[in-house]
Amino acid sequence: MPRIVVDVMLKPEILDPQGKAIVGALPRLGFTAFSAVRQGKRFELYVDGEVTEEILAQAREAAATMLSNPVIEDVVNVEVVAD
């Protein structure tokens, strides 16, 4: 079933306390290569049948109006995944 993947991240200027906690914990497991972590959200919108331009436009609209809050977040990716 084709799906549309939407990725949402906190805006770069907004501190991500969860990401900070994760980057603080990584070295405890020996992962020392990472200087920062930012945590985002991934949504998968499933579509019955073909993903038309209209459906993709709806997904973009949903991403901008509901899946993200433009005050704090950016929609960084909207793409169709067929598998």
Binding site: I14, L15, P17, M66, N69, V71
Partner: protein, 250 residues
């Protein structure tokens, strides 16, 4: 309906019999926690509390609305993000932005819902320390002209409970500057900032002064013996403020 005091003799009888005619709606969403306390605060203040359900299509002729705290829709997606699209929210947004200027108070999750609904600017993100924090919090009143703050003195310090994990108020610098310039910062945290909120902001009002949102909980501080220690009733001013507004006294 007269409220039974939890601790002997603490509940005042209304000084103004017109108060009982004031109908204050309290909205319940799936996951709301503090609707009963909010309704009780309304009754303790002498007005009539009206239960509203998020799926209702009518505001039941209420004179004002309180959106109480809790975890509506489990805070799924973002705190308040799904509640914003509830049928009743459309009615509340329309009434709050119409000429009628319906007074609306959002407390904690209610504040988050009001920002998601764009009735108030900015947003709340996780506390900077990531922890759920519950403590008595001192606030300074910085606006005493809104529908929900006119019973307080400007600069008055009040103590009410604070309890949340997503309480860090943020907005861009331009929005923060505008809020300050227009006197729309309603409450600021006094003492250590509990969550990293920009400019110590605890609560704000819209330009018209009828919509107020804040993270701390005035409805938990309306009765002697139950609110924070020193008086326990500092939150009552929110409810007397809106009654002042509705009765045309302020």
């Amino acid at each position: 309906m007269t409220e039974t005091p939890l601790i002997g003799g603490a509940v005042q009888t209304p000084v103004d019999s017109r108060l009982a005619g004031a109908r204050i709606g309290v909205v319940t969403f799936p996951g709301t926690l503090d609707d009963r306390d909010a309704a009780r605060a309304v009754r303790v203040s002498g007005a009539t509390a009206v239960e509203l359900w998020h799926g209702d299509s009518s505001l039941s002729d209420v004179d004002a609305v309180i959106i109480p705290g809790g975890f509506s829709y489990g805070d799924y997606l973002r705190a308040g993000a799904i509640s914003r699209f509830a049928p009743l929210m459309g009615k509340i947004v329309d009434a709050a932005t119409s000429n009628a200027k319906l007074p609306v108070l959002g407390i904690c999750n209610g504040f988050q819902i009001l920002t998601e609904a764009h009735l108030l600017p900015g947003s709340m993100i996780k506390n900077d320390h990531l922890l759920f924090l519950c403590r008595d919090q001192v606030l300074r009143v910085e606006n005493n002209t809104s529908s929900w703050t006119n019973a307080y003195a400007l600069g008055e310090e009040i103590t009410v409970p604070l309890k949340n994990q997503d309480g860090q108020y943020i907005a861009d610098e331009k929005t923060l500057d505008a809020l300050e310039a227009e006197g729309r910062v309603a409450f600021r945290y006094v003492g250590s900032n509990p969550n990293g909120s920009r400019r110590d902001i605890a609560g704000i009002t819209n330009a018209a002064g009828n919509v107020v949102g804040l993270m701390p909980h005035p409805e938990h501080a309306v009765e002697h013996g139950y609110g924070p220690a020193h008086t326990g009733t500092d939150g009552r001013g929110f409810f007397t403020s809106v009654l002042n507004t509705l009765l045309g006294d302020k």
